[in-house]
């Protein structure tokens, strides 16, 4: 097992920082702060968690929800509205899916579906991990994932999907 040290921290930041930040974006306007705090919290653990990435997702989730609750409802909605103007993804020429449209479609999903999709697709978590993360069953996590994908397909339109 790796020791908790700068090397591991740097590797976690490189490999999971962007996806963790994407995950936190769904709740709060300063997701980088939440992810940074989670990584710092990791350094304070007496032992490296057995499954460090799901552990980080749990801490980031709680930090992001707490940060969201700390600001007023009106300001939260203003911040989320402002987020709609920017992409959660890298804008790259030649992508078959429009990054801004995908961002907007994700933002419009119910929280449970959005966080399940982000944790699964970009975080690479298993449904068991996501179930533990959200306090739901694996089958519920799976159902939310499928429902979320179906909703995204609807919102993004069939024109975005190549079927051949």
């Amino acid at each position: 097992m790796d020791a908790i040290g700068p090397e591991l921290l740097g590797r976690l930041l490189d490999e999971h920082g962007d996806a963790l930040t994407l995950y936190a974006r769904g709740w709060c306007e300063a997701p980088e702060d939440v992810v940074q705090d989670a990584l710092v919290q990791l350094m304070r653990q007496p032992r490296l968690p057995e499954r460090v990435v799901p552990w980080l997702y749990r801490v980031v989730r709680n930090g992001a929800i707490s940060a969201s609750r700390a600001v007023g409802r009106r300001r939260r909605h203003e911040a989320l509205a402002a987020q709609r103007e920017e992409s959660w993804f890298v804008l790259a020429a030649g992508e078959r899916l429009d990054a801004v449209a995908a961002t907007r479609a994700l933002q419009e999903l119910p929280e449970e579906q959005r966080e399940t999709i982000v944790a699964r697709l970009w975080g690479g978590l298993t449904f068991e991990d996501i179930a533990e993360l959200t306090g739901a069953s694996s089958s519920t996590a799976h159902r939310r994932y499928e429902a979320g994908l179906a909703a995204l397909r609807e919102r993004l339109g069939v024109a975005w999907i190549e079927t051949t």
């Binding site: 801490v59 709680n62 899916l97 978590l125 499928e146 429902a147 999907i161």
Partner: protein, 94 residues
């Protein structure tokens, strides 16, 4: 997008992290295509200041562990699941 593309996207997805697994079988090829296309989008860079993180982490590692976290990961209050709030039910769009 053909089956090979989907498999490539999945492979890339699994290779991006050490704890990734593939325990999901999409119900339709349509959703599988969408899944592959979505996962090909790269999240925007986090913009976390690496030097500041290392500085804060160094400070944190010098402190004693938080109360009640002396025996392992499961005891960290910050790692227990929080319920989603604001009274929004499942299926209700934001």
């Amino acid at each position: 997008m053909d089956r090979d593309d989907v498999e490539k996207a999945r492979h890339a997805q699994r290779g991006a992290g050490s704890e990734k697994t593939s325990d999901f079988r999409p119900p339709t090829s349509d959703l599988a295509n969408l899944e592959a296309m979505l996962s090909s989008l790269a999240p925007r860079a986090a913009g976390i200041d690496r030097d500041r993180l290392m500085f804060l982490a160094g400070q944190a590692s010098a402190l004693p562990p938080p109360m009640g976290q002396g025996r392992g990961e499961g005891e960290a209050p910050s790692s227990l699941p929080l319920p989603l709030g604001e009274g929004r039910g499942e299926g209700e769009a934001r």
